[in-house]
C-alpha cells in the first residue's frame, strides 16, 4: 500500500470568540497545523485533554465545518475542493460515532429506522432489501431485528444504544470510522464489550479507525499508532508500543502517570499527596491566548528559556524507533524502558519551576530511570 487512506496536512481550525463576562475574546486556535496519516486497516488514536482540539480535528476532517487552512485527502481526493453531492458521497465513507449514545440517536425513531436511514441516502430503494440489510447490520453489532428493531433509544441500555450507533455508521459501508470518545461514558464491562465489537469489525470488514479519547489506557487495546495532542498541536506521534513504553514528550508522561493503577502498592503516601498542584500550574492555558513557543511549557517540568522562543516541530528523536516523532526541545531520551508504575512515579514533587531551572526534572520525583535519562539529555543539549 503506497497511499494512506486519509492524509491530513497542516490543518488549522480557528474560531472567533466574543469576549464575555470577564473572558477575553479573540481568535480561538483550536487546531494549529496538525498533520497525520491513517493507513488502510489501521487504528490511530488521538489522545489529549479537554480543549486540546481533538474533537475539532475530527470535525475538520469531516469538513463540518471545513478547516481554515490545510488539506484533508481521503482516498486521493482533496475533500476541501468538493461541494454538495460530491462532498456528501465522500463523507459517506467516513462515519462518526459520538460519546453520548442517547443524544446521538433520534429519540422518536425506532432502531430499525435509525439504521435504515443511511441506506435510503445511499439509494437502496427496495424495502425488502433495506429490511434485510438492517437485519444483517444489527446482527453484526450483536442486536436482533426482531427483539430490538422496534424499540426506541430510551428503551435501550447505554451499551445497546452505542451498538445501534455503530450499526448506523456501518450502514453507509464506510472505510474509516471516527470514534469520538465513543466508549468513555459506558460502564467498564459494557465498555469492554463495545471495544471488542469494534475490534472484531475492524478485522472482519477491514475498517480503519480514528479513535479520540482523553485517557491513554482506554485506547491501548485498540491502537496501532497514537498521537498525543495538547492545545491544538501534536506533541508526539508514534507506534503505540513505542509511545506507551518509551514516551518522549513530558506531556505524554503526565498523561501516563495520571492513569489510576490497580497494581498493589500504588497508593501515594498521604504526606506526598498533600502537595497538590495549584490550578494555574495544573491546567492548560486558554487556546485564545496560547503560550508562545511550545504550548506545553507553562506546565512542563523541563521547560527552559528556549521553549518560550521557538516552537518545537515534530521530528524523529535521536535513537527513536522509526515513525516515533516528538515535538519537544528537550525530549526524554529514547533509552531503555523506564520502570513505569513505580510507586514514586505518582508522587508529586514540589511546585514545578517555570521555564527556569534545567534541573527541574529530577526534582519532580519521577521514576529513577527517567530521571537519569532526563538529566543526560539536558546535559548533552546544553553543550
Amino acid at each position: 500500500m503506497t497511499e494512506p487512506l486519509l492524509a491530513v496536512r497542516d490543518l488549522v481550525q480557528e474560531f472567533t470568540v466574543r469576549g464575555q463576562g470577564g473572558v477575553r475574546g479573540g481568535v480561538l486556535q483550536a487546531v494549529s497545523g496538525v498533520g497525520l496519516d491513517i493507513w488502510p486497516g489501521e487504528t490511530l488514536s488521538v489522545v489529549g485533554e479537554t480543549g486540546s482540539g481533538k474533537s475539532t480535528l475530527a470535525r475538520s476532517i469531516m469538513q463540518a465545518p471545513p478547516p481554515k487552512s490545510g488539506e484533508v485527502t481521503f482516498r486521493g481526493v482533496t475533500l476541501g475542493t468538493l461541494r454538495g453531492a460530491a462532498l456528501r458521497d465522500a463523507r459517506r465513507s467516513i462515519q462518526m460515532i459520538f460519546q453520548d449514545p442517547y443524544t446521538s440517536l433520534d429519540p422518536l425513531w425506532p432502531v430499525a429506522r435509525i439504521v435504515a436511514e443511511p441506506l435510503i441516502a445511499a439509494g437502496v430503494s427496495d424495502r425488502g432489501e433495506r429490511r434485510r440489510r438492517v437485519g444483517e447490520l444489527l446482527e453484526q453489532v450483536g442486536l436482533d431485528l426482531g427483539a430490538h428493531g422496534r424499540r426506541r433509544a430510551r428503551e435501550l441500555s447505554g451499551g445497546q444504544c452505542q451498538r445501534v450507533a455503530i450499526a448506523r455508521a456501518l450502514a453507509a459501508s464506510p472505510a474509516l470510522i471516527i470514534a469520538d470518545e465513543a466508549v468513555s461514558s459506558l460502564d467498564v464491562l459494557v465498555q469492554a464489550q463495545v471495544l471488542n465489537l469494534l475490534e472484531g469489525l475492524r478485522t472482519s470488514l477491514g475498517l480503519s479507525y480514528l479513535f479520540i479519547a482523553h485517557d491513554l489506557a482506554l485506547v491501548k487495546q485498540v491502537s496501532d499508532r497514537v498521537a498525543v495532542m495538547y492545545l491544538g498541536r501534536l506533541c508526539e506521534v508514534g507506534p503505540a508500543d513505542e509511545v506507551y513504553a518509551r514516551p518522549r514528550h513530558p506531556y505524554t508522561v503526565e498523561l501516563l502517570d495520571a492513569v489510576p493503577r490497580i497494581e498493589q502498592g500504588e497508593r501515594p503516601a498521604r504526606d506526598a499527596a498533600a502537595d497538590a498542584l495549584a490550578d494555574a500550574a495544573a491546567e492548560a492555558p486558554s487556546p485564545v491566548h496560547p503560550p508562545s513557543g511550545c504550548r506545553f511549557r507553562t506546565r512542563c517540568p523541563r521547560a527552559q528559556a528556549r521553549c518560550a522562543q521557538e516552537t518545537p516541530l515534530l521530528a524523529p528523536g535521536q535513537g527513536a524507533a522509526s515513525g516515533h516523532l516528538v515535538a519537544c526541545h528537550f525530549p526524554i531520551a529514547a533509552g531503555p524502558e523506564p520502570e513505569r508504575g513505580h510507586p514514586t512515579a505518582r508522587a508529586p514533587g514540589p511546585e514545578r519551576g517555570r521555564a527556569a531551572e534545567p534541573a527541574a526534572g529530577p526534582e519532580r520525583g519521577r521514576a529513577p530511570a527517567t530521571n537519569t535519562a532526563a538529566t543526560k539529555t539536558i546535559a548533552s543539549d546544553s553543550k
Binding site: 497508593r267 498521604r270 495544573a282
Partner: protein
C-alpha cells in the same frame, strides 16, 4: 478507633407502579476518621442510592430502613430540619457535575460565603475571609480575584475545586465524593484526587468515595466495597481486595478495566449479560439465588437456589460467593 460513619443493614426500596425495587439491600460498612472507603459498582448497582440515603437526599417515595450512625447520631429517620443541621456540618457531599452544582448566575465566592453563613453565625466580611482562605486551601490561584468571578469562567477542574472548598467550609467529619472526578480529564482527576488525599491528611476527615472506577479505588481507598444489584458482594481492605480477589464479579470488573500493560488487538475478557432487573412484584422476596449467578462462569445449581451471604474470613476479607476464586492476583474469569 471509633467509626465516623457506621452503616448497618441499610436498605432502600422504591415502589413504582405496584412493584418493588430493592435498590439497596442490607448494606453494611464503616468509615473511620482519616480513612477512605470506596463503594464500587456499575450504573444501577445502588451505590449512589446508598450514599444519598445517608444524606437524606432521596425522594420521598424511597423507603429507607436500617441504620446509619454518624458521630454517634442516627441519621435514618431524622426529620428534615435535624438533617439539615448535620449536612454541611458533619457530612458534606461533592457530585459528579460541578457545573450543575453551582449557581451560574451568582459569583462563585458569595456562593461559598452564603453556605458558611447558613451554618455559622458570622459576619459577611468574616465569611468572605473564610471563603478566600478555603480557595487557598484547594489551591485556586489568585483567590481574591476568583472570589468575584462566575462559574462559567472556571474550567471543570477549577469548578470541582470550588465544590470541594464549599464542602469543606464547615469542616465536615465525613466527605462523600459521588463520582466526583468522573467527568474530568485523567490529568485533572489525578490532581483533584491528590488534593483530596492531601486535605484529608491535613484535616483528618473521613472520605466515602462512590465510583465505578476500580483503578481509582485501588489508588486512593483504604477499604473497598463492591456492589452488585443493590448488595455488597465483596468488601475488604483495598490491598487485600485487589491482591486477592475472591468474588467472580469483582474479577470480571477487574479484567475489563482498561490497562496500560494490555497488548494491542487482544480481546478484552468480558462477561455477557446484564445486571438483573431489581423490580419484583410486591410481597415477593428478592430473588432467591445469587444475583450474579446468571452471568457467572462458576455458577452451579446451588447459586441459583440459595443466596450466599456476605461472610468475612480471617483476613477481614468479606465476600458473598459459594465458589470463590482461589485468590490469585488478577485472575480473570469469563469467556472472551
Amino acid at each position: 478507633m471509633t467509626a465516623v460513619l457506621e452503616v448497618r443493614e441499610l436498605s432502600v426500596r422504591y415502589r413504582p407502579r405496584g412493584r418493588v425495587v430493592h435498590a439497596v439491600d442490607s448494606l453494611s460498612y464503616s468509615v473511620g476518621a482519616g480513612r477512605t472507603v470506596a463503594i464500587i459498582g456499575e450504573s444501577g448497582s445502588g451505590k449512589t442510592a446508598s450514599s444519598r440515603a445517608i444524606m437524606g437526599l432521596l425522594p420521598r417515595s424511597a423507603q429507607v430502613s436500617g441504620s446509619a450512625v454518624l458521630n454517634g447520631i442516627e441519621l435514618i429517620g431524622l426529620g428534615a430540619r435535624e438533617l439539615r443541621r448535620h449536612r454541611g456540618h458533619d457530612v458534606a457531599m461533592i457530585f459528579q457535575d460541578p457545573a450543575r452544582s453551582l449557581n451560574p448566575t451568582m459569583r462563585v465566592g458569595p456562593q461559598i460565603a452564603e453556605a458558611i453563613r447558613a451554618h455559622r453565625p458570622i459576619s459577611r466580611a468574616a465569611a468572605r475571609e473564610r471563603a478566600i482562605e478555603l480557595f487557598r486551601l484547594v489551591r485556586l490561584s489568585a483567590p481574591e480575584q476568583r472570589y468575584s468571578e462566575y462559574p462559567h469562567q472556571f474550567s471543570g477542574g477549577m469548578r470541582q475545586r470550588v465544590m470541594i472548598a464549599m464542602a469543606l467550609s464547615c469542616s465536615p467529619r465525613l466527605l462523600i465524593a459521588d463520582e466526583a472526578t468522573t467527568a474530568l480529564d485523567v490529568t485533572t482527576q489525578a490532581q483533584i484526587m491528590r488534593l483530596l488525599t492531601g486535605l484529608q491528611a491535613q484535616l483528618g476527615m473521613a472520605i466515602l468515595m462512590i465510583s465505578h472506577d476500580l483503578g481509582l479505588a485501588a489508588s486512593f481507598a483504604d477499604d473497598v466495597v463492591v456492589m452488585y444489584a443493590g448488595r455488597a458482594v465483596e468488601r475488604a481492605p483495598a490491598r487485600e481486595l485487589f491482591g486477592n480477589v475472591r468474588m467472580p464479579y469483582t474479577s470480571a470488573l477487574l479484567g475489563a478495566v482498561p490497562r496500560l500493560d494490555r497488548a494491542a488487538h487482544t480481546p478484552l475478557p468480558v462477561i455477557g449479560g446484564r445486571p438483573p432487573v431489581l423490580s419484583a412484584p410486591p410481597g415477593s422476596a428478592p430473588s432467591a439465588g445469587c444475583p450474579f449467578a446468571a452471568r457467572c462462569p462458576r455458577a452451579d445449581d446451588r447459586c441459583e437456589r440459595e443466596r450466599p451471604e456476605l461472610a468475612e474470613d480471617e483476613a477481614g476479607h468479606a465476600y458473598a460467593c459459594w465458589h470463590p476464586l482461589a485468590g490469585s492476583s488478577h485472575e480473570i474469569s469469563g469467556e472472551a
